[in-house]
């Protein structure tokens, strides 16, 4: 495989990667520069993304291409623009109209997503018949007891006294085991990211650089 010098892209990426890693030593100006470039690019990316992927195909092109059929798109267009009027003090109150529609819509969608898509199936999934092989029964009991005690732990209308005290205690133990699992998985996730970066530095940048230098 012919290894040539790492391309300009690899050099830029490697430089920025090392700038961020320099924060591990201590906070320094190189890190702050890279951090600012990151903030700037991400905001600029949103602009290009929205224009290229939504505003052009779903709004501008239909309006300009065939206005007759798509005139109703002027309504979302107007509501979208009105959002920006909040930066003009005198007219700020109008922007609340489109904000109300925007926030209201997602509130309505979210309500049923949580009640119908989360609470109903999760509650139903806990109504487990305690029958079948001992493994399934044991598992079923643990899930049932776990859900009940965790819900009791997060119950605020009565003090944790009498039977509720041991139940809440058991609930916190279930929570701790699941936090342990999340901890383990998070460590896995963070390490995977490190592997990704070091693999890039070694295979895409350092090795082609060294080999081509040695190769003369």
């Amino acid at each position: 495989m012919h290894l040539q010098l790492p391309g300009f892209g690899e050099w830029v990426a490697a430089f920025l990667t090392l700038c961020i890693f320099s924060f591990l030593y201590r906070d320094n100006v190189l890190y702050r520069i890279a951090e600012s470039i990151f903030a700037g690019i991400s905001f600029g990316y949103y602009v290009g993304l929205a224009k290229l992927n939504t505003l052009d195909p779903n709004l501008f092109r239909p309006l300009l291409g065939d206005f007759g059929a798509h005139w109703s798109l002027l309504i979302p267009f107007a509501l979208g623009l009105l959002l920006y009027v909040r930066y003009i003090p005198k007219l700020a109150w109008i922007s609340n109209w489109s904000l109300a529609v925007y926030i209201g819509y997602y509130i309505g969608v979210n309500l049923l997503q949580k009640l119908h898509g989360d609470i109903l199936p999760q509650a139903r999934g806990t109504m487990i018949p305690l029958t079948g092989g001992w493994g399934a029964v044991l598992g079923g009991i643990i899930v049932f007891v776990g859900v009940v005690t965790v819900l009791i732990y997060f119950f605020f209308s009565s003090p944790h006294r009498g039977p509720l005290k041991p139940a809440a205690r058991l609930g916190i133990y279930f929570l701790m085991i699941s936090f342990g699992a999340s901890f383990g998985y998070t460590v896995m996730g963070r390490v995977s990211l490190l592997i990704g970066r070091l693999t890039f530095l070694v295979h895409d940048w350092a090795r082609p650089l060294l080999l081509s230098l040695m190769g003369g």
């Binding site: 030593y25 990316y45 779903n58 969608v109 999760q122 999934g125 996730g189 995977s192 490190l194 295979h203």
Partner: protein, 283 residues
């Protein structure tokens, strides 16, 4: 126990160095440890394996570059699997910070690796804003949400999606998700439109999806780089002719094992010192 106190307060940067070396060595000299398959990943593999040539699936790239090391290998393995099965892939993205670019990269890599054809084997409809709004609208009419693909070709003119109007015309939706988007595919799309959903997620969010899977709201979950390496293994076992293609997750797991051992040692050693110093104080 003075030296124990001293050891506990060692400078943070020495620990950084240890982790750096622990990660670097296996990257330069891979070890090649085996891969153990877990049921949630096998469930997703079986779901794709049951599909028939000509069936279509929806693959949503709902992640960004910082999740690449975990989810890119998953995307590669799933795309190779679908290609081998003759399953059509409809690629979209609902994640703003880079989802569309991850999709472009993975599908182009499939095209170069297995000569899959844009437009007939797969199609990339690109990114759309709106999150739940786009998910709900695709329940009735995908073309209304994605009037064109990422290159500007009209939805109607794409041969692959000619008879795909909405979710019901596809057999499975797989979301490669980092944030809460993966949960929306379950508690909104699966709950209200019935299409089976599988989620490939970063390790950080994997534990949450066991609760959904156990309630049959998701057919399976591929969790983190470990899950990706399992799917890579399953695909290679089923399709030996794919051997030789890059398996970044499986290679990554070597490093994962070494760094895990280091961190496990840190936790045990740190707590041993903690217990020793505490006993000294009490004595």
């Amino acid at each position: 126990m003075h030296w124990a106190k001293q050891l506990l307060l060692v400078d943070r940067r020495i620990i950084f160095l240890l982790v750096f070396l622990g990660a670097l060595i296996p990257i330069i000299r891979p070890i090649g440890l085996g891969v153990q398959i877990s049921p949630p990943v096998e469930a997703v593999f079986d779901a794709v394996e049951r599909l028939r040539p000509g069936d279509a699936i929806l693959l949503s790239f709902d992640y960004g570059p910082s999740d690449g090391p975990e989810l890119d290998p998953m995307a590669n393995a799933i795309l190779r699997h679908c290609h081998k099965k003759g399953v059509k892939v409809v690629g979209i993205s609902l994640f703003p910070l880079g989802g569309v670019d991850m999709g472009i990269a993975r599908l182009n890599e499939l095209a170069t690796e297995l000569q899959a054809q844009d437009g007939t084997d797969w199609v990339n409809l690109g990114y759309k804003d709106g999150g739940q709004a786009a998910m709900k609208a695709m329940g009735e009419d995908i073309a209304a949400v994605f009037p064109t693909d990422v290159n500007g070709v009209a939805y109607r003119d794409l041969p692959l999606t000619r008879d795909i109007r909405a979710y019901r015309d596809m057999k499975l939706a797989i979301s490669l998700a980092t944030s809460v988007l993966g949960e929306w595919w379950i508690n909104l799309v699966n709950a209200q439109f019935g299409i089976p959903v599988a989620v490939g997620t970063t390790a950080v969010s994997a534990p949450r999806y066991y609760a959904y899977m156990e309630a049959q709201q998701a057919i399976g979950v591929i969790g983190g780089m470990k899950g990706a390496s399992e799917y890579e293994e399953l695909v290679e076992r089923a399709y030996p002719e794919l051997k030789g293609l890059s398996r970044t997750a499986t290679m990554g797991m070597d490093v994962q094992s070494i760094v895990h051992v280091i961190i496990i040692f840190f936790i045990l050693f740190g707590n041993l010192m903690f217990l020793l110093t505490r006993r000294v104080k009490e004595a």
